[in-house]
Amino acid sequence: MGMELFILMLIAFMLAASLIAIETRDLLSSVIAMGAVGFALSVIDLLAGAPDLAITQVVVEVVSLILLVRVVTAREETQPVPSDALRTAVTLLAGGIFLAVAFFAFGGAGGGATVPPFGQPVLTSANPGVSADYLARTAEQTGASNVVMAIVLDYRAYDTLGEATVIFVSILGAYAILRRVGRRKEARA
């Protein structure tokens, strides 16, 4: 119970930091508040029994913070940009409907939940699926002691190959967009 309360507080912190990131006028503050959200997520990963995710999240967070700070500080943009009133209203409406549906789907009104309740993953249900098999037999099947890494690198290695391809292509795309060599001279208006 104590752990759940702590995680709840961290999620509340994430929500507060994301609202600051979205609503603050200074773009540098906005980017840094986004970094706070990511680091809080990394702490939650650590508490929720996912140390691999915590490490990856910290590394990715640092890299994306560097990229975004580079964008924000290299360019001058001080004028505040307001948000669109109509779109804000539509998003608020859609958000309200979404939260209400989620409330009922998780059995908030006392009805039957259609999603496994918090603290009881599919793993512990009567029909545990593939996760239980991974946990019980990873050691004999792959010789790995870390089940998550055994899934990423042994059971689903083709997924990981695809992920590496996506990363490679996106970095290549970013390079192609930003390069200066071989670009045609733009007409100055």
């Binding site: 752990m3 995680i7 709840l8 999620i11 929500l15 994301s18 990131a21 979205i22 773009l27 906005s30 980017v31 959200v37 990511g38 997520l41 939650i44 929720a48 029994g49 996912a50 691999d52 995710l53 999240q57 990715v60 890299v63 994306s64 990229l67 975004l68 580079r70 360019r75 943009e77 004028q79 940009v81 948000s83 669109d84 804000t88 539509v90 998003t91 608020l92 859609a94 979404f98 939260l99 409330f103 998780f106 496994p116 918090f118 993953p121 793993l123 512990t124 996760s131 946990l135 019980a136 050691a139 004999e140 089940v147 998550v148 899934i151 992920e163 990363i167 292509v169 930003l178 733009e186």
Partner: protein, 126 residues
């Protein structure tokens, strides 16, 4: 308690969605997309969360890593769900690639139009 945790997670997701839909600054849209991504990853981590009742009371599940001398069956009794974690690991790294690509596009837009404001960029086109 559980439902409060899930609903707060969805609130973060909606905050990100709001930034993507309603903001007019390219940097704010990138930040919103990143926050949306965090919320989805958080939700999937929490789906795998497990409460284990021990002699000392209920506590969180262990990381799905075998300790020395521990068998897979023993791990099955105490560990959190490893499958969502394996998929989120992929998702986190891909999010970095997506962010890098969006940042590159934003830099290029700023280079061409001299502003991050999407309204002005639309007006300048053509």
């Amino acid at each position: 308690m559980g439902i409060a945790i899930y609903l707060l997670t969805f609130a973060i997701l909606l905050a990100g969605l709001y930034a993507v839909v309603a903001k007019k600054n390219v940097v704010k849209i990138i930040v919103g997309a990143a926050i949306l991504d965090y919320a989805v990853n958080l939700f999937l981590v929490l789906i795998g969360w497990r409460t284990v009742s021990t002699a000392a009371g209920a506590e969180g599940g262990a990381a799905p890593i075998l300790a020395a001398g521990q068998s897979g069956r023993q791990l099955l009794a105490s560990a959190v769900d490893p499958l969502p974690q394996a998929l989120i690991l992929t998702s986190i790294v891909i999010a970095l690639g997506v962010t890098a690509l969006m940042v590159a596009l934003a830099l290029r837009l700023h280079e061409k139009y001299g502003t991050f404001d999407l309204e002005n960029i639309r007006r300048l086109r053509g």
